[in-house]
Symmetry: C3
Subunit: 206 residues, 3 copies
């Protein structure tokens, strides 16, 4: 399998790779944030926000470059979709971290940590896939692993929500955690979304 | 009125028709699920999930085929929007059923049943429209009916939410039902969304 | 700086200008609604709904016209994105007003009023920018102001949510206001979104 892309499209691959590096860093920060029992969550959240801004700028760079380039509308659309989809992941990681700060959550539970693990592993797979897109190898295997992780995320979501409502004493706690879980699940979904876009681009170019 | 489409676009009509068949089945399952006072909700939800997966695969088929075909970007966009919009409907029906399972809801109320009725009737209209798109008849009338049903759904939503907060004893029940109503209302909106896309495609081709 | 657009694209500028007039009116109605201590909220909400419908029709007009026109797919996409993004703003203003009615909120707080102020100022900037797009002046300055206002909106959101959960006695009140704040914050985000699209179109055409 090998992607026969034109040189002017290849430049976008480096930008995508850079985005996946930021995403992967944000996912790692989130994982460490949620594992840290005595840390200052605000500091993690600020570093994640910084990575979110960096991704925003890359998305902007890609969109500007696309607007000035003369590749076909087909490929233009794929590149646009890809950069938006990558940007969505880091936005949701940022949303989750932000929710923890705004809601002033003091105790992180096991579900949130499991979610962060899944997101970090998905981000890792995406980074590996994207950085080798020019000379793809093991991609199918990595895509399968991403779909497996998405299912794992789905199971965590179900179990977390069920327990949240089952054990609920305090409605405000339910509201807060429901939103945090929703952001984490959405981050997982967006990782799979990027995998789907990659699959479809690969089919198209092979 | 008759759509002058090229043969290579017509093949997508059969795929859309297949999608509306699945959507219509999912809507019927949801309606029966919500009408069933002693049934196993999990079984309905599982059948709906199966239909959701089937629609996913069709969306994937359409997108792959589009990527390899050489129709104009204009039509390509319409077909892509149409398949995504159809897929959204079944996703939301699935979300609603899933919420009922995850929240372990035991008693369905009249509002939810009214919603399911509206969704089923909208799905029926969409199925009829899409399956006759090659040789359209009565489409205007059906589109009007879809907009009427969307208004009906809006009224149900308002009444349901107002009563939910007015009669509320238990905040957790409010949280659960608010989300279920939101998914059901979103399903109604997405049905209208498909109707809007069809209208715009018809205007373009006539 | 001057946009070198083809005449057939210029006609869309008048439609966009009309949309920003409606958006700006809706934002003003919302601001007055939230400042009115003894008024009938239903009347404001109805006027906002009227403006929302008017924007819907313009979006529809633009999309129909696009479908029949022969401009390049590049510009077509920009115009489509722009009209959708403008329409989103008024939808969210309408959602916020609608939530206040459905939830039967009696007392508006300072945060909601601050939000409405920010939205109105953003809508004003967008109106000025869009109405001078043919012969742009002061646009950079206005775009900077929009980004500044978005940050202001973000701060309001954080403070409002933090206080909501901190002072919370009643979970139902929290649920209601959380949703109202979310709609208002989303309206702010969509205003910035339009600014981003304008920036990217300007870069492309200069």
């Amino acid at each position: 399998m090998g992607l026969s892309l034109l040189p002017k499209e290849e430049q976008y691959f480096d930008l995508f790779t850079q985005m996946t590096l930021y995403i992967s860093s944000a996912a790692r920060e989130l994982k460490e944030m949620l594992a840290d029992k005595h840390g200052d969550y605000g500091e993690y959240a600020q570093r994640i926000k910084g990575l979110e801004h960096a991704c925003d700028e890359l998305t902007h760079t890609i969109s500007t470059r696309l607007n000035k380039s003369f590749i076909t509308p087909f490929d233009r659309e794929d590149i646009y979709m890809m950069s938006t989809a990558l940007d969505d992941i880091v936005d949701l990681i940022d949303d989750a971290a932000r929710a923890i700060i705004i809601f002033d959550v003091k105790e992180i539970n096991e579900y949130a940590r499991d979610f962060a693990n899944v997101i970090e592993r998905m981000a890792e797979q995406l980074k590996e896939i994207v950085s080798t897109l020019k000379r793809p190898r093991n991609i199918t295997q990595r895509l399968v692993e991403i779909h497996r992780l998405e299912n794992e995320g789905d199971d965590i979501y179900h179990a977390a929500i069920a327990e949240l409502f089952h054990d609920a004493q305090d409605a405000l706690t339910v509201i807060k955690w429901k939103e945090i879980y929703e952001k984490l699940e959405a981050a997982v979904d967006r990782c799979e979304n990027v995998a789907n876009i990659i699959e479809s681009v690969i089919i198209k170019h092979t």
